[in-house]
Symmetry: C2
Subunit: 333 residues, 2 copies
Amino acid sequence: MNWIIQSPLDMHLHVRQGDMLQAVLPATTGLFAGAVIMPNLVPPVTDLDMLIAYRDDIMRHTTDPSFQPYMTLFFRDYSAAELEAARPHIIGVKLYPEGVTTNSEHGVRDALAYDKVLDAMQALDIPLLVHGETHGFVMDREREYMSVYDSLARRFPRLCIVMEHISTRDALPLLDRHENLFATVTVHHLLLTLDDLAGGLLQPHLFCKPILKTPADREALQAAVLSGHPKLMFGSDSAPHPVDKKESCGCAAGLFTAPVAIALLAEFFHRHQATDLLQGFLSDHARRIYRLNPPAKKVRIEQTPWRVPERYGTVRPYRAGETVPWKASVSAP
Amino acid sequence: MNWIIQSPLDMHLHVRQGDMLQAVLPATTGLFAGAVIMPNLVPPVTDLDMLIAYRDDIMRHTTDPSFQPYMTLFFRDYSAAELEAARPHIIGVKLYPEGVTTNSEHGVRDALAYDKVLDAMQALDIPLLVHGETHGFVMDREREYMSVYDSLARRFPRLCIVMEHISTRDALPLLDRHENLFATVTVHHLLLTLDDLAGGLLQPHLFCKPILKTPADREALQAAVLSGHPKLMFGSDSAPHPVDKKESCGCAAGLFTAPVAIALLAEFFHRHQATDLLQGFLSDHARRIYRLNPPAKKVRIEQTPWRVPERYGTVRPYRAGETVPWKASVSAP
């Protein structure tokens, strides 16, 4: 069995900088037609010059011309003029509440206190991408943030708002309540629960933010994705860290899933007799929501055992060294 | 400020074997008058010869004559004759559901299927100590086990049953429902939540079974302990592992709290104006419940900064290298 996905997109990706960028980027550019590049560098990407320099850096390491990085600015008190100047270069602005994840120290305390910025983004039709977590109890953080999404969506009804990497069932009803709310879903929140992280021995390589949730949350996400929900897009949140930052006292949050994401999604959709819905989740929904016209790229998905490499530079990918039953590869045009 | 605790007892302790035993035992024997020694060795302590050999091994490494190890057998299908022979040497039998924690591979699938053993234990007045967790979702395992405790307590009304290291608020109402149910509480479940393990960076040294729970669970445990609840006993569940088994891919469960437990309990009880209740929690409740007469040992608790050692052999203790505000030490008799 095999089939073709046209121009798969990763709508939430961390590629870092320097040696790390070089080591991890090919895993994405080799299989995806485009990816939304997150701006939580050190320091964060908070002006157009930095953004263009970062994009150029990514392009320099991209050997594949059929790959488009969709750049994002790190949310701050931008002026309307700054946003207008940035607009042709960005797909959106990414909002982090202060301190909720890797390199988010410069995030905002209260999203709703930035009316002017949000007004300008709405007027300029610039999407708002949000890491939606409070500072509450770790298993409740995303659920607690739903009221913020609700307020944002109501107060800025023409602002396109993307709930990034949703992991709790409470996020799903909001998609139906607000026309302007959308969401990305990772492969790990679709497949794993807190049991995988901490139910047996503790598995630091499965530690991420938002934290893996309950079986009921995972089931709700699975059902929504398998219903072909048109407001759900794939976003890997692939977030590489060197092995020594994962297997240590104080392990950084993130799974490096970019190399295996398509293969694992293929397995998941095939198991649920839903292979026809993968094109939408992996590409078409995002194209429609963001009005994108990504580079043409045919990715062949085959039921062929494939061994996941042990390392990409200093990074251990999800399922490292394991053989997975499906393989994704670029098909000749 | 300082005060004296008479003969503190640790009613749930792992001291392991060999070099590890040698490295960790002094932290307990130096401050406690006695401790309940858990039998989950490799292989588990499942007959009287092994138990006596293990006790002798512990005594050989105990330089302090005012320390009493209270030995336990690992639950299996013992005959009444075996239990009768073991009775003078044990404080109870420890039941592990299969595979729920370190070295529990030989545990039982269904506690209630062992009527004969439980009948014999009841007849012989041998307490049953239980690691009460199901194989469900990690945050629900203890709560789901409550129905087993309920059945055990009803079907064996004269069997003394100890719910070990309770971590969820659901355990507390059972203490009032059944005269024959008791519980131990660790210092880490009293002070920490899942946020400490996984709310910021992942902290493998705080990974344990049962897993750290919610703020509501912690508050309920704190309130019960601070009420002087007579059925709650201190049991550290101090469970040392070498540093390389903690800071790795697949981290073993357990905190090594033995060296700091009394100091941290003193801080906690003092902060809550309940210093007068510490004697009960640390000794008197256990003495009454188990009808013990431990060696005389006066432990002085002083408000004196004390730096926790970085290592005990290959083991990193809880709060390693930190200075804590209270210090416990043996007082001249």
